[in-house]
């Protein structure tokens, strides 16, 4: 290979069998793994919040605002991995502002704005309005004005207006549930609709993404609830953890079943691509699929959660187990995103060869960039918790 393509020379030495030239270099790298992971956390956190609001699961009350703010923090970052992946800062944003019905990618602008503006911000606003009005009256200086601005200058907290806050907030949450389903179902659709790729192309893909999103979002809110309680040196309520754990257990069972169903279907059908896919999962994806996603991210958490359904003994042990479960589940869901995004690009459309992927450390498409987009939401969440602390809200009486 002539000079000027050193990275290709490196990759070429890892190629196996026959592969078309445009398949050698992976087009979608680690940032496209991070993107559905972050979007999934948004949808999952929101669905946990709506459990409390719509389905009146009172025990989850302490996590309600936390879940909403978590969803908002991650949603604000959701588009950024995409834009930085495109590596054209002067025009990459165009994908968000020029939506088009014929392109699954370019419709994200619509889906995103709907979810951010109409669902999440409105629900948080209605929920916090009474408290924000009171804070704007209590605080002095610049914070007074900050709260005044985010209440949109409306200081009416008469019982009748508050009643409308509740009604409208409820209405938004009801719209929000299908919206959260659409948001993450859509991300699955991007992959599931690519009929040329047998690893992606299945109508189950949106549903698989949706359920793994719920799993990861619920696990993330559980972890954040534990960490926030620890930082505030408040005792966390083990009953709340048990309730979250119960939902997590059920959703994880569903997620596992549907993904298993997809694989069984694939194995039984054994289409012409099956030989390649078999080699793929037994070779390059072995660690991330069987060990990381299957064992660490699904089977061990399932075992732990099943154990916690019956074990009601030492609280300290249960807390530790919930914490470990949450971390393992997040590792598992991240691996699932990796297996889909990277795995789908590793084999050739000729079904006779494989390329390889080595993630870089630095650069716009490297590990550090991905880590930055994953850490940033926690910074935003810390700010939001400072600005809108759920524990200082006016107690509700309904």
């Amino acid at each position: 290979m002539e000079p000027g393509y050193p990275h290709l020379t490196e990759i070429l030495s890892h190629i196996q069998g026959y592969i078309f030239p445009n398949e050698i270099d992976l087009q979608w790298g680690i940032l496209i793994v991070v993107y559905p992971f972050i979007t999934g956390l948004v949808a999952g956190a929101f669905i946990l919040a709506s459990l409390e609001r719509v389905f009146r699961v009172k025990i989850l009350k302490p996590t309600y605002q936390l879940a909403l703010l978590t969803a908002l923090s991650f949603l604000l970052v959701a588009t950024l991995p995409l834009i930085s992946h495109l590596a054209q800062p002067l025009r990459a944003y165009e994908i968000m502002i020029t939506p088009h019905g014929s392109s699954a990618m370019a419709i994200f602008g619509f889906v995103y704005l709907w979810y951010l503006m109409v669902v999440l911000l409105l629900e948080i606003w209605f929920d916090y309005r009474q408290s924000m009005v009171i804070w704007s009256q209590e605080k002095t200086g610049i914070m007074k004005w900050v709260y005044k601005i985010i209440t949109l200058g409306l200081s009416d907290i008469s019982p009748r207006t508050l009643e409308w806050d509740r009604k409208l907030g409820y209405f938004i949450t009801v719209i929000g549930i299908p919206s959260a389903f659409i948001l993450h179902g859509y991300v699955g659709f991007i992959f599931g609709s690519i009929k040329a790729n047998p690893w992606w192309s299945t109508p189950l893909m949106p549903i698989i993404f949706l359920f793994s999103a719920m799993v990861s979002g619920i696990a993330m809110v559980m972890l954040i609830y534990m960490v926030v309680s620890y930082i505030r040196t408040k005792d966390l309520d083990i009953n709340v953890l048990d309730a979250i754990g119960k939902y997590l257990f059920f959703v994880l069972i569903l997620d596992f079943t549907i993904e298993g169903l997809d694989q069984i279907h694939r194995i039984y059908e054994a289409e012409e691509s099956f030989e390649t896919i078999k080699l793929l999962v037994e070779g390059k994806l072995y660690l991330t699929l069987f060990i990381s996603q299957g064992l660490i991210g699904t089977l061990i958490p399932l075992g732990l959660l099943a154990f916690l359904q019956f074990y009601k003994g030492r609280i300290r042990l249960r807390k530790t187990l919930y914490f470990i479960t949450g971390i393992l589940i997040l590792i598992g869901v991240y691996s699932m995103r990796w297996n889909v995004v990277i795995g789908g690009q590793l084999f050739s459309k000729s079904f006779s060869g494989f390329t390889s992927f080595k993630v870089g450390l630095i650069g716009l498409d490297g590990t550090l960039m991905a880590a930055f987009w994953l850490i940033l939401p926690f910074g935003i969440l810390a700010f939001l918790l400072w600005l809108l602390p759920p524990w200082k809200m006016v107690p509700e009486d309904y």
Partner: protein, 154 residues
């Protein structure tokens, strides 16, 4: 009874109206002028894509001078491989031909790119040898004419 509109809705409608106006304004500023000129993309991107310098001259340009080599090649198993596959991009060479502005790879490793034994490669399609065992110490082209691999040199 007078129809009641909650004050929140009034404020939110104003806020949304401002947001949508700002969004549309920003969108007008941010979307490039030539967007939509031909389709749902920036018209100027066609010009941008035409700008990169051409490196490959294409088979036809090679044949203008090197028809004799092509005739040799057609008689043997490398007949379907194009000149620039081995000799690299030849646009410069086709503009002013010098021996130095085109690649003439002659290393064992270069031939090994295709002919090194690889279990995943179909052996009926590509002849494969183990470079480290096959006539070591000699260059491939000392015996094989790359344009006519099965016509052995003396």
């Amino acid at each position: 009874m007078k129809f009641y509109i909650p004050p929140q809705l009034t404020r939110l409608s104003i806020a949304f109206a401002i947001f949508i106006t700002l969004f549309l304004l920003l969108r007008k500023l941010l979307i490039p002028d030539t967007f939509g000129q031909y389709g749902h993309y920036r018209g100027d991107s066609l010009t941008d894509n035409a700008l990169p310098v051409v490196h490959y001259a294409g088979q036809q340009a090679c044949l203008e001078c090197h028809q004799d080599i092509e005739d040799q090649k057609q008689a043997d198993v490398h007949s379907r491989i194009k000149c620039e596959t081995c000799h690299g991009p030849g646009q410069k060479h086709s503009e002013s031909a010098e021996a130095t502005n085109i690649l003439k790879p002659d290393s064992r490793e270069f031939c090994g790119n295709c002919h090194e034994k690889n279990a995943a490669r179909r052996s009926e399609a590509v002849v494969q040898i183990i470079i480290n065992e096959h006539n070591t110490g000699k260059k491939c082209i000392e015996c094989h004419n790359p344009h006519q691999p099965w016509t052995m040199k003396e």
